[in-house]
């Protein structure tokens, strides 16, 4: 082998690099016919049970729509968010680059959503997310990200107001809340809502997502002698904590109020006795009385044997709104769809739905349920009755940190 001089090698290296650089973009240009939609869902990690449900909801909506939009076929792809910011951002970028994804729905965790929103902003793809953090339509707002879930301000007020109307003397609240973006928002606003009723928050424990050892926290809550045990958690963490509350003698004597729950699939995991004196607020409970909701509940239950919960409902509704936006814009360019969505008022799953153009907050009803006692249940899935719902009070200006949503 002939010995090359160092200079020659540097030249070869530079040439190779330039060749590599120019080869890249050619790959992506290929996929222009299909409309590629990405569902970034948690298939592993602490929210692994929500992943398949979200996948169901999105797929349902796409199939219902005929798997075509504005005359083009829809390609639905999913990636595992793992409920971790690192892998999620990596996979969203990869889906945008190699699959040509232009519409990103998800993830499920508020913390990861903030990271994904940054990617959406940088890569200018449409991003729809449902979760409890106020920042997507607040401090971190930008033209490409939309928030589906009710604003935590509104949601926590509905929970607090309806509960206190029935229990005016329950002034001592103990809070167990998840220690990340989701928890910080809902905790802030339950306390704001509580002020209006003279509620005293006798203790707050901020707990890691995925905590399984609830004995210590439930003991602390019990020792504080509260009138209400308020859980701003969901999924497995919530189920274990509720059971422990019963084991430690706190429930059902003391009511448990879940601020932001997952609806039917979550409630199904508790037995009827454990659901006694349990109250839950949620973005989606299947008995919502709207045309879209009734139809969805029926078809979903027929297909999967259980009515849909918040995850399946949110994914379904978000996908419908995005597809509706594409139809309205008559274009699959994210920027055009953004403009079509802003200010749009239509009927979807929760009933009347309006997308605020200044903050990209989707305004719709939030629901508050009282779980039924065993003898009140009319059938296997009759977990609770909706005692209140509404889309007001709207978050006042002073709290909204989305001052300038920016340009496209």
């Amino acid at each position: 082998m002939a010995r090359m001089s160092r200079r020659d090698f540097l030249k070869t290296g530079a040439a190779a690099t330039i060749a590599g650089v120019s080869a890249g973009p050619a790959v992506v240009a290929g996929q222009s016919k299909e409309v590629v939609m990405l569902g970034i869902w948690p298939f592993t990690g602490p929210f692994a049970d929500a992943g398949p449900l979200l996948d169901r909801g999105m797929k349902f909506a796409i199939e219902e729509w005929g798997t075509r939009v504005i005359g083009r076929p829809i390609k639905y792809i999913t990636r595992d968010s793992e409920t971790k910011a690192g892998p999620s951002t990596r996979r969203v970028e990869e889906a945008i680059e190699s699959e040509g994804a232009r519409f990103v729905i998800g993830p499920w965790s508020s913390g990861v959503a903030l990271a994904v929103a940054e990617v959406a902003k940088r890569r200018k793809v449409l991003h729809y997310f449902s979760g409890g953090t106020e920042e997507i339509s607040g401090k971190r707002c930008h033209r490409y990200s939309f928030q589906w879930a009710a604003s935590p301000f509104t949601a926590m007020h509905i929970v607090m107001d309806s509960f206190m109307k029935r229990h005016p003397k329950a002034k001592r609240w103990y809070i167990l809340v998840w220690d990340y973006a989701f928890g910080w928002s809902v905790e802030k606003y339950i306390k704001v809502a509580g002020q209006g009723h003279g509620v005293e928050f006798v203790g707050t424990d901020r707990v890691q997502l995925g905590t399984r050892e609830w004995g210590g926290f439930v003991s602390k809550a019990a020792a504080a002698n509260p009138d209400v045990l308020c859980m701003l958690t969901a999924a497995q963490d919530f189920i274990i904590a509720v059971r422990e509350a019963h084991n430690f003698g706190l429930a059902p004597k003391v009511p448990i109020v879940q601020g932001w729950g997952l609806g039917s699939e979550e409630l199904a995991q508790l037995d009827a006795k454990t659901r006694e004196n349990l109250w839950t607020g949620t973005n989606g409970y299947y008995t919502a009385n709207t045309a879209v909701a009734r139809k969805y509940a029926e078809s979903y239950e027929k297909k999967f044997g259980i009515p849909p919960g918040y995850p399946a409902i949110a994914a379904y509704s978000m996908t419908r709104l995005v597809l509706g936006g594409i139809e309205r814009a008559k274009s699959a360019e994210p920027a055009d769809v953004v403009k079509a969505l802003e200010g749009w008022e239509t009927d979807d799953w929760p009933g009347r739905v309006r997308i605020d153009p200044k903050t990209h907050q989707t305004v719709h009803d939030y629901f508050f349920l009282r779980c039924k006692r065993p003898n009140e249940m009319k059938h296997q899935h009759d977990y609770g009755e909706i005692v209140a719902f509404g889309s007001e009070p709207l978050m006042p200006e002073q709290y909204n940190e989305c001052k300038d949503i920016g340009a496209l």
């Binding site: 090359m4 090698f9 540097l10 070869t12 290296g13 530079a14 190779a16 690099t17 060749a19 590599g20 650089v21 080869a23 890249g24 298939f43 592993t44 595992d80 971790k84 910011a85 690192g86 951002t89 990596r90 970028e93 990869e94 680059e97 190699s98 508020s110 913390g111 990861v112 903030l114 990271a115 940054e118 990617v119 940088r122 220690d179 990340y180 973006a181 890691q208 997502l209």
Partner: protein
């Protein structure tokens, strides 16, 4: 003389590999390979060359990442200053922790590095005002490379890759010099027989400490590069899982060899990118690979390649031998 020739060929092959890698994987993945190669090189210095198995390198990776990110976010620090900041903080932390860990040997050393890693992980987790906690620290900018008259923005993936590649090559060269220097030789003698090294008169603890601190500096710098890649410092950067990944890379690639960690980093990152999309359970392959390496191929990929080369060479020799004896 032939030795130096082989070394030059290897170096040149490395530069070529760095140049053509983006043809085979996305620039972002390629950049991540070299970033972790830096961290793996650092661990190789203390494990492969000095014989100390640290199961807590993510401590310095994470601290470097957070430090650099915070400097860029809050003080608008320029690129090179942020990199230096990560390296310095990585070195300082390693100096302090290293001093404590080195007091003990064997399993205790491993447990101390692991324990400190856990401690810093939980601190990072709970100090949400500083680190963002579980959500990670977002909004990390990518300042342009400003050096004298040169002003190069790094906003595209390919440009950032080039920058990372150059930094990596420079650090690789530095590591090569360290390993070939008297310090490197002393470290190797410590690994082989610490008692003998002490008997000759070397302050074993001092040299271990120096190696540990240098490794901390390299790892911290790698952390800053990682933070700028996706514009976020995820909590996993400081988790013991990342420490484990770095250990993997060194082991699978080949201990005590300068190129081993690079092969390990490339292998691990490629696996996690390429295979994870196809099969969710790909860490199973990783576990199997590790088990096989530990049982049968303790020299790692480097040894595998060497054996392959020998096998091919032997096949070429055989016909000639038969002719002679005929």
């Amino acid at each position: 003389m032939a030795d130096r020739g082989r070394a030059l060929v290897r170096l040149v092959a490395l530069v070529a590999a760095v140049a053509v890698l983006p043809l085979f994987v996305r620039p972002v993945v390629a950049a991540e390979i070299w970033i972790f190669a830096i961290a793996a090189m650092a661990l190789n210095l203390i494990f492969g060359y000095t014989g100390m198995l640290s199961f807590g390198q993510a401590t310095f990776f994470g601290i470097g990442a957070y430090a650099g990110a915070l400097m860029m976010i809050h003080w608008q620090a320029p690129l090179l200053l942020a990199l230096a900041g990560g390296a310095v903080l990585g070195a300082l932390t390693a100096a302090v922790l290293g001093y404590l860990c080195i007091q003990r040997l064997g399993i205790y050393f491993i447990m101390l590095t692991f324990g400190f890693n856990q401690m810093f992980f939980f601190i990072a987790y709970k100090w949400t005002d500083l680190t963002g906690g579980e959500d990670g620290l977002p909004g990390v900018p990518r300042p342009p490379l400003a050096l004298g008259p040169l002003h190069l923005p790094l906003n595209t993936a390919t440009r950032y890759y080039l920058f990372v590649a150059v930094v990596f090559l420079l650090l690789f060269y530095a590591m090569k010099r360290i390993v070939d220097s008297p310090l490197g030789l002393i470290c190797r003698s410590i690994r082989e027989n610490p008692n003998r090294a002490a008997a000759i008169g070397y302050d074993v603890k001092l040299y271990k400490w120096i190696a540990f601190t240098i490794a901390g500096a390299f790892t911290g710098l790698a952390g800053v590069l990682y933070a700028m890649m996706y514009g976020i410092v995820p909590l996993e950067a400081i988790s013991w899982i990342t420490s484990g990944d770095i250990v993997f890379m060194v082991l699978i690639g080949g201990l005590g060899n300068l190129y081993g960690p690079l092969l390990g980093a490339a292998g691990l990152k490629w696996l996690s990118e390429a295979v994870s999309v196809v099969w969710q359970r790909w860490p199973l392959i990783l576990g199997v690979a590790l088990v096989l390496v530990v049982l049968y191929l303790r020299g790692g990929l480097v040894e595998a390649l060497a054996r392959l080369r020998e096998a091919l060479a032997r096949r070429r020799l055989r016909p000639r031998v038969r002719e002679e004896s005929a």
